[in-house]
């Protein structure tokens, strides 16, 4: 099964394609079941590389145009080589990427031309958690703040509504704000 349909570009998002996919998948829930995969390998120290390539969706194997590899590491502050973003920072990167992609799609669907979209993110972490100093402190972020600065051909209320809708439809926003069952095994 493939989904190919006409393109219609305002912000460079192929919204017609997305809407067509939505229509097709509405009538075929099994085709909507995707499984994403990533392969990770320790390099040295705190450094790892993780690659995404193949995934499953639309009832069959799919692949990215090419494999994408991300390097993660810890900062030199903690004696590491700082060869890449920290894993929690990658979560911030994922959130920003997801929300911004959503903003572009929704704006285009609503006929709003975006001129520039920038975001600054801050996330707070109490290191007493991951360092095992205080068991009452969680490991992860205690709060994430995202500030969008958007120049668009629309009034402020519309821009705010686009940003709100992007959060409602964001996978990473959901992953971060809601619990997910995680199983980790040694094979």
């Amino acid at each position: 099964m493939t989904i190919t349909e006409p393109t219609n570009q305002l912000n460079g998002v192929d919204v017609e394609h997305l809407l067509h996919a939505r229509e097709v998948l509405t009538g075929a829930p099994p085709a909507a079941q995707f499984t994403f995969r990533a392969a990770s390998e320790w390099v040295d120290g705190n450094q790892a590389t993780t690659t995404v390539d193949r995934f499953f969706g639309l009832g069959e194997e799919q692949a990215h145009a090419r494999p994408h590899t991300v390097v993660s590491d810890h900062p030199s502050l903690f004696g590491a080589t700082d060869a890449g973003a920290t894993p929690p920072e990658l979560a911030m990167i994922a959130l920003a990427g997801c929300l911004t992609a959503g903003i572009a799609s929704i704006a285009q669907n609503w006929g709003v031309k975006l001129n520039s979209v920038t975001a600054n993110l801050e996330a707070d972490m109490d290191m007493q958690g991951i360092l095992g100093i205080d068991p009452d402190v969680r490991n992860g972020f205690s709060a994430i703040r995202v500030a969008y600065d958007i120049d668009a051909d629309a009034d402020d209320a519309t821009v705010e509504a686009i940003v709100a809708q992007s959060q409602k439809r964001s996978a990473v926003f959901d992953i971060i704000t809601n619990p997910t069952a995680v199983s980790v095994e040694v094979v």
Partner: protein, 411 residues
Amino acid sequence: MRTDVTIIGAGQAGLAMSHCLTRQGIDHVVLERGATANAWRTERWDSLRLLTPNWMSRLPGFRYDGPDPDGYMTAAEVGDHLEAYRASFAAPVRPETAVQSVTPTDRGFDLRTSTGGIASNAVVIATGACGTPHIPALARDFPAGTRHLAPIHYRNPGDVEGPVLVVGASASGAQLADELARAGFDVTLAVSNHVRLPRRYRGMDIHWWLERLGILDEHIDHVEDPRKARRTPSLQLVGSPDRRNVGLNELRDAGVEIVGRLAGIADTTLQISGSLANVVRSADLKQERLLQRCDDHAAESGLDRELTAAHRPERTALGPAVLSLDADRFRTVIWATGFRPHHPYLPSGFLDPKGALRHDRGVGEHAGVFSLGTVFNRRRNSSFIDGVGRDAEELTPAIRAHLDRNAAWAR
């Protein structure tokens, strides 16, 4: 017995349909599992009133004629209103009759009921918008001993033991959180997507505005996403004599603890979604857009001078985020989490995967089956007392056409 049309349900939908068929001289019967307006009499809490003002209770050939057109009927008064409607045209209601099965035949349908069989050319499903309460699966993971209630089983604060967790902040959840907090209970409200609106705006009931703006009779064919429109939750309102609001700001001021959506439960810890800020922001933005439409309409139609000044409600203020709660804390959980369609007597082929009747604007996919009174059956107010009559009037020619086709076939 044999009849042309069997209507299942003697609430506002079934009675409106009966009125239309009576006017057309079409032979029919209205089956009711209890007495007329059964759900209004047996499945509503004591203090419940309509969300819509009394003047907005127009049915085919019947309207509110009492002393308080701007008030809100209690559930018992709705029951009396509908019983008076039934009596006004002697609707052929067969009470205490539960439908057990509806089986398609060459000539129409055979119905098995608790009071005997019926052969019918057409069937109208008019059992209402509520179906059966939807309680999420995670209710099972609460500590043993927690009392779980759906709003249709709640009667009054005497029914519950606190502290109380109310899940869902649409009309039912907001109203019950309000009532229980006022009764002195320790109440926590878990809030997911909702529609925030003020009870009154610029001196007029919000439903007056929704009608003026053409929103209430907006047709399903004219909405961008019909599936989403049919999922829209009820308005976060209460119909009360003091016309108070039950938005999150007011509930917080009444002492209700406001938290995000109940997302999961791990051991005895309730996991609360971190999405609340966006949920309330979205609701505030939608309210602002609606009130702006009201103001624009007032200006365009020269109403500005007759209305009071435009005071916009304050944005929703939230306290520090709560991301987990101890499940052991709550003695009672009220699941104001909506309803699912419930048609156990219909063949599964009549239903979609979610259990709702397959239909297009009230005309069932299976010839001879019709639907009335569900959320956005044809229009946004299809499930309202005030809107169901128009649906009944519009379905009548389709029913007549079906009966004519059947009769031609029988000859």
